[in-house]
Symmetry: C2
Subunit: 422 residues, 2 copies
């Protein structure tokens, strides 16, 4: 496609989305939920076709030398398609966010004022290999009365097209405009740049993927972007931590699924906890599980298996079996470290000390701040939001895991009987 063709393609895509978005905004919540149940059923009924399409992507991926991990993320089977359908059904079952009166009052002049939740309009989602994002993102956009433009990775093109066919078919069956969910079918990267410039036609972009993808989107965008940068998550083990609990939380936060954003990357130990043998015990357990420990000088003394950490280690999101460990003087130093080196994603304290828990939750400036549990819980599903459209490390509009309600805005509606301003 040449430049002009890409421009036209994008504009037409966005125009169709805008028309569909306006229609979606007028639909009843029950109609959107019914459409999603149709979508879920189609996903299961058409699973053979989805698996066949996925097989093509997998073959292309193998030919292109994708890693085993990448191929695993790409792969769909009956079970994974079943979870995708379940997720769509869960989203369908949630309360309708549209039309909620967030605030309402009668003003002294008799004006009846209401702040009413409404869809944002047209949402562009840009993501990488996992094809389940196609059904999750589509379902969340439909649930919230928006139109979605989905731009998945080219390595999942056939899978995404097959999933999108189920989604659009489900919308159509339920009498909704199928253009409420459109998949970008042109692989050319210029399409993304062009879509990101369509201020006034596309209301929001949500990139899901690695930091380089997100930075590229932010740099090109003329439309608002909700970002998810790094997940450099911390666990601070306080002097008053329960040793057993601290051990379990550290191991779970680091090793239960190390490749995801809410896995822990740095452990901070209160000096007392470190010196009573807890640091050693945790590091021994991690080493058993093939985790490489990179520690400050004190950690290296207490756990000789540690490699010395550099300044770079405190800011690194390893997404791997590596952890940075540091000994701190107390909750003040822990808070200071987290706010300085962290990524404002998810940070946890393990303590029995009420005052330390209060300080940590109040003063750590992160989207998710936990007491006595694994960092792995910062997740839309775990928060009861159904599937998540992403996790925001921004502070504006939405912070942390984002569900359907985060794809809404509001309008102020006032009902009067001839009020004039004097």
């Amino acid at each position: 496609m040449r430049g002009m063709e890409i421009k036209t393609y994008c504009r037409e895509l966005a125009d169709r989305a805008q028309v569909a978005g306006r229609a979606m905004a007028r639909t009843a919540g029950v109609a959107r939920a019914a459409a999603l149940r149709e979508v879920a059923q189609r996903l299961q009924e058409d699973s053979a076709a989805i698996i066949a399409a996925n097989a093509k992507d997998l073959q292309t991926g193998r030919d292109a030398g994708l890693s085993a991990a990448m191929l695993d993320r790409l792969k769909l089977d009956e079970k994974r398609i079943g979870s995708m359908a379940d997720s769509v059904r869960q989203i369908a079952d949630q309360p309708d966010p549209v039309g909620e009166v967030i605030h309402g009052c009668i003003r002294p002049n008799g004006l009846r004022l209401q702040k009413v939740r409404v869809p944002i309009g047209v949402v562009l989602i840009i993501y990488e290999s996992r094809p389940n994002v196609t059904s999750d993102a589509a379902a969340l956009c439909v649930k919230s009365g928006n139109a979605a433009i989905l731009r998945g990775g080219k390595e999942a093109a056939h899978s995404n097209a097959a999933i999108a066919a189920c989604v659009r078919g489900g919308l159509q069956d339920a009498g909704l405009n199928p253009d409420a969910v459109q998949v970008v079918e042109v692989a050319d990267r210029a399409v993304v740049g062009e879509l990101l410039k369509l201020e006034g036609k596309i209301d929001l972009a949500i990139p899901r993927g690695g930091e380089s993808l997100i930075r590229a989107v932010v740099e090109q965008a003329h439309i608002p972007v909700i970002k998810h940068y790094a997940g450099n998550c911390h666990v601070y083990v306080d002097s008053w931590a329960d040793d057993e609990m601290a051990l379990n939380i550290c191991v779970n936060a680091k090793t239960q699924r190390p490749g995801v954003c809410n896995a822990a990357e740095t452990f901070l130990f209160h000096r007392d906890a470190a010196q009573r043998g807890l640091l050693r015990r945790v590091c021994d357990e991690l080493a058993k599980r093939k985790v490489e420990v990179r520690g400050d000088a004190e950690t290296c003394r207490l756990f000789p298996g540690a490699k010395p950490a550099t300044e770079q280690d405190w800011v690194t999101e390893y997404l791997d079996l590596i952890v940075a460990v540091k000994v701190v003087g107390g909750v003040d130093e822990a808070i200071e470290h987290v706010n300085r080196y962290g990524s404002k994603h998810t940070d946890a304290i393990v303590t029995r000390d009420f005052a330390a828990a209060e300080r940590f939750t109040a003063e750590v400036d992160s989207a998710n701040v936990f007491v006595n549990c694994s960092t792995r819980f910062s997740d839309g599903g775990e928060y009861g939001l159904g599937a998540e459209i992403g996790i925001s490390t921004d502070k504006l509009h939405a912070r942390g895991p984002m569900g359907a309600a985060d794809l809404t805005t509001y309008k102020w509606v006032a009902y009067g009987n001839g009020q004039l301003r004097s």
Copy 2:
């Protein structure tokens, strides 16, 4: 100041703001409210000093040939300072937005999850001539536990410095960090550009002023900006409008204060309403009040005093005694016109028809949609928000008039007893 000095100046300003912002986030609501009452008292006690400082600005303004309207906006007297102090007291009296639990539940695994309102951090406000913005913006930022960096117009430099001295004095008296409110004292425009680049130090920029100021801020900013573009507001007079009410609303919306963003710029008349003489009656009344009418062909036939409108008139925010008038076939065409040409600010319908009111409020995609009242009511004060930090025509984070709560974000706090993810 040279480039390096400006960079250093801005960085130090932002660093002080960040320290103050962290301290503010830890303060009790009562302490912030008490500080604001001190500020209000100082504004009144120091009114002579403020008026003296303002006299210098007025003199400089007259020497520079500022228009009478500009000089009027700049001018402070006892009465205006009294209103500024009242406004600060009203903000002090509002409920504390910080710490509000927006949502809370216990998850099936026993995690006690809460979504808690917290300050955004450091807010940069860039504004033009009116010095009352200095106390309003400072008070809203203090109320919401943020640190403010205020950059007013250079024509109000002495006035703003005198007002800021009261604010900082009040903070200090109440035991809060005075750096929670800092005024940029360097007139060089490069300072704004530099501040807008301080991602990670400044969390939000709010420009208040004309469209060119706002576009310039958006173009330079690496930090989030909440925008307020044009206020091209409409009144649609339906066939079922009460004639008397329609007349009064049109006159009020256009003439009560034509230079502000929520004044009406276009009237749409249902053909039936136009043909029964209502268009003529409204236009006659406007003409009496020196309003120039620019109409479509039908309007020009019904009101011979009208000049023919061009396509440009439908998109223009006159901010003046000019109005564009068009005859439409019904509520559909009215909605279509507003969504096509409007600026998503404030649009009103005058009707007794319930269904038309429902359609208009549901389908007009604007921040404020009114039934049977003047567009002039879209205002933080009128909505009960106290003074407003601005009116957002964006859809994300905040829409319409913004009060103290709109200067907050939230964090997710989870309290557990050792929960692990499996």
